[in-house]
Symmetry: C2
Subunit: 367 residues, 2 copies
Amino acid sequence: MTMAGYTNFHADKISSFIEQLFLKIGCNPIDAANIAKVLVTAELRGIPSHGLMRVTDYIALWKAGRLNSKPDVRIIHETPSTAVIDGNQCAGMIAGLKAMGTAMQKAKAVGTGWVSVQNSNHFGIAGYYAMMALKEDMIGICMTNANPLVAPTFSVDRLLGTNPIAVAVPAGTEPPFVADFATTPIARGKLDLMHKKGLKAPFGFVQDKTGKPSDNPNILTDGGAILPLGGDREHGSHKGYCLGAIVDIFSAALSGAGFGPFVPPSVAYLPLIKDAPGLGTGHFFGAMRIDAFRPAIEFKATMDQWIQTFRKAKPAEGYEKVLIPGDIERELEEKYAVEGIPVLNSIWEKVNECGKEFDIILEVEKV
Amino acid sequence: MTMAGYTNFHADKISSFIEQLFLKIGCNPIDAANIAKVLVTAELRGIPSHGLMRVTDYIALWKAGRLNSKPDVRIIHETPSTAVIDGNQCAGMIAGLKAMGTAMQKAKAVGTGWVSVQNSNHFGIAGYYAMMALKEDMIGICMTNANPLVAPTFSVDRLLGTNPIAVAVPAGTEPPFVADFATTPIARGKLDLMHKKGLKAPFGFVQDKTGKPSDNPNILTDGGAILPLGGDREHGSHKGYCLGAIVDIFSAALSGAGFGPFVPPSVAYLPLIKDAPGLGTGHFFGAMRIDAFRPAIEFKATMDQWIQTFRKAKPAEGYEKVLIPGDIERELEEKYAVEGIPVLNSIWEKVNECGKEFDIILEVEKV
């Protein structure tokens, strides 16, 4: 069923469109296919803010000379269980795939692998990389810093990104546990949506330029900031601030990427900061081989028991069931694979405008 | 200066009292000294809920045969970068110190070390173990599961503990970054304090037995539950639920400890669950050698810059300054080392009651 204002597209159709676009800007076929795969996976999992609509930002960054379509992504330092990768200003997916692959190789050899990345760009959804570990019976971990929108507790300055954390854990007969969440109560994209719809934001999402609570979803354009997870100090925003800071330190201080306020914007219309310390956006990846701790079959039986225990928990009044992290995204992925991916018509028009410059069109078809 | 209702004690005095007590129940001198060290460090850092008052719980668990004062704490599985440790029902500090030491040894050898622990008990403050890594120019990570008080989002069942996460990061001229926080808006101890003072709890801390928001700090005694960090679904409690779940999985599913609702109570007056899967309380430890990623001197210069950038952020109206994780605890540690540790008189009386059984008294002295 297609929702009003949306058109449904087959995943393959969107993937092919994105792939062609990145080929046109000079990516090699493998990189172009990988970039498309990560963006389409976000669409399939119901996270369109990290999907098709992002291509216009990547193309604009490439035009501005801030994204390298022919990067030399390479390991610049390593030990048996660690590595640092220089992304060479790549689209973040290229560094992300190499980094997670490296972490998994190291986990095969010595039990775990941990890779920090410098000089990268936005890499799509963190969950994609964490989930790569599942097929090898490993736990996958992924985090990234992002351009600064979040004020630390007690401050008005925007010093942290929404810095997400993703953790994927294999199970046996149950589907895997897949957590992928920003370390803020809300993502930037959802604030924009509220503003467009003329809605107020619930208190606890943002503050104004003086640090007072605000319900204006557009307050970021007037010096406001997103709050860390927890909202205010009383409700533990200092814990959200800690989480965002840890993601930033692992992603940037370990790799030499830009940290905190020095993470480059992921959109070309915001200028780069002059003389910023560090190189580009930073990410952090981890892989832990299950059988480096315990036979995988035993662990997976425990995870099945864990998932079943939580799934059968008594729901609160007015709620139907308790969810396991990853449930919603997995169910959408199954649905959209059959019904097609709903794309907002305004986004479809915008990406086609971008595509037309390169003689590529995302055509409507009967899904 | 001594606050009304409190008596100040030298750290050494408290430490000696605790040490003697654990010697009396059969601990060897090294274990007794280590247990005292971890508990007194909590007092010094202003976290009395994890300090002296805990000794009565440990002694009661020992009396009930649920804490082994002569444990054989040993590695039961390992790879170059990982290990699983069986705590043999020890006081958690004994397993914690061995596990963090093992993680650091492995980090020396292959860059990082990761250790999951089964069959342990409450280990005090997570930050203690994370901070052990600092002197070796490593990042220290520590987490633990805990007895179930927290309901996952949409549920009324208490399936998770307040499951804390601690991360300690070395800096250069600046003091280290030390985050140590529960994955809930509030700790159990603070709710008890509010109840004793006849105060209401702010909404967002707890829910009643039907899952409705509650401001009753004593609601846990009537089927209520603590909420995950974020408070409600709208403000991201599903993210706090994810965090608590990740801590539980790393601590228990990787080690074979009791998970979620099957974590044994850390107090003897609550019975053990019959036929619970898994063994005891679980913990998880990590150590990452800085120079496995980047020369330590470069990293520390970046951390100094990070800390200075955040410290000089503009405060929100009504606030004096932005804090770096660890600031408050470090300042208290300096103050209490000089002025003595303030101990609530009722706690002092309670631990002396326990001590008297073993002919040990914590005497008042002029600090």
